[in-house]
Symmetry: C2
Subunit: 220 residues, 2 copies
């Protein structure tokens, strides 16, 4: 049964558990203790037990977690058992990088097509998916229901897509444009703001430096 | 004066404030109220006041915030006034997308070079920066001190870079490889795990659907 009260902080951590459990599974490991997971993931063992208990938990004192079972359960919570269809808007370097990332396909995210404005790309194929002209997007979406639109174009162009994508009944948007897009609330929007990530890196770097200056004898 | 006790949740939100304030500044807006910022950013006005108060705050009851001053102050906290040097490792689509993202340069992140294994790329120029062969990276770093290494190559190759980059005294790593890299604690690592972001999107999509199924009369 689906637990509906998993906190969003735990949800944000689940993909990382999923990734580590997948590696263990591939290595043929059957059971893993919270302390082993803790070592691998650099998270305290008690944090791990707390997180995994939130959805029933499969740990057994002294026996650890069943890797395959926990992996499957987390995949189910993240809804990775279902196939998701997606389109990528923008065939620049970023759009191509996303299309070529093979893991997406393994996780059931199927690329139905890519869209761009560049005439010379029409009819070409990127990572097995055809490239269409952006002006045909709306009619394409009428014929092919799509779950997720991946937006990999600049801000001003991205803003123009909000209306047509909303009209087409898209369910979710993975937004790489450097702006927040005003989709209505019923549409799930996941932003990846790369410049924000770099700014946080910059802050954390400086913090590290200040700390070392004040504690010259400690190695961080 | 630098406030050292800004919470990490606030830090994570600062780049977004910075981005909105920058837009306002470009539009020539001089003052902005917390309620106007709240509308723009879809965050409550009290959250905004609380966040901005943490580092002195420049709000004045009834007058709002001085846009330029607040923008400058947040930039200073994020350490964006200083120039950062960086190298990009991996000239695939992702590496190229990052190199071409002009905003980084505007924010003082200067690309000294890109590194790859492909012989045919040697000596070419991407976004104004030269491409070198990966085997020359260590000697390059001896001659050119670099703050940040951007890692845009697959997991197995990325793991091999941990030792040489650590030896070279790199300060920070912006990691796009699909794994956690075991750098020592003194090096700041900022991970961008795209597949994790997509899994969270998948979860949130399903949550939305479940909500609509249970509340068919409400528009979300």
């Amino acid at each position: 049964m689906r637990q509906k009260n998993i906190s969003s902080a735990v949800i944000a951590r689940l993909p990382r558990y999923f990734r580590y459990l997948e590696e263990l599974k591939e290595e043929g490991v059957e059971r893993v203790s919270s302390s082993r997971l803790s070592e691998m993931m650099h998270v305290t063992a008690s944090q791990i037990r707390q997180d995994l208990n939130q959805f029933g938990g499969f740990g057994q004192q002294g026996y650890g977690y069943n890797v395959a079972q926990l992996h499957k359960e987390i995949g189910r919570i993240l809804d990775l058992e279902r196939e998701h269809s997606l389109i990528i808007i923008g065939c620049g370097n970023l759009g191509k990088a996303l299309a070529n990332y093979g893991n997406f396909r393994l996780r059931g995210f199927r690329i139905l097509g890519l869209f761009d404005v560049k005439k010379e790309l029409e009819g070409t194929v990127i990572a097995g998916a055809p490239v269409y002209m952006i002006e045909t997007m709306e009619s394409f979406l009428e014929e092919h229901p799509v779950d997720i639109a991946v937006i990999a174009i600049p801000k001003q162009e991205a803003l123009k897509l909000v209306e047509p994508l909303t009209r087409a009944g898209i369910k979710a948007v993975w937004n790489f444009s450097h702006t927040d897009l005003p989709f209505p609330e019923g549409i799930t929007v996941q932003n990846v703001h790369l410049s924000e990530s770099l700014m946080v890196l910059s802050y954390r770097m400086r913090e590290h430096e200040l700390y070392s200056e004040c504690h010259p004898d400690e190695s961080l």
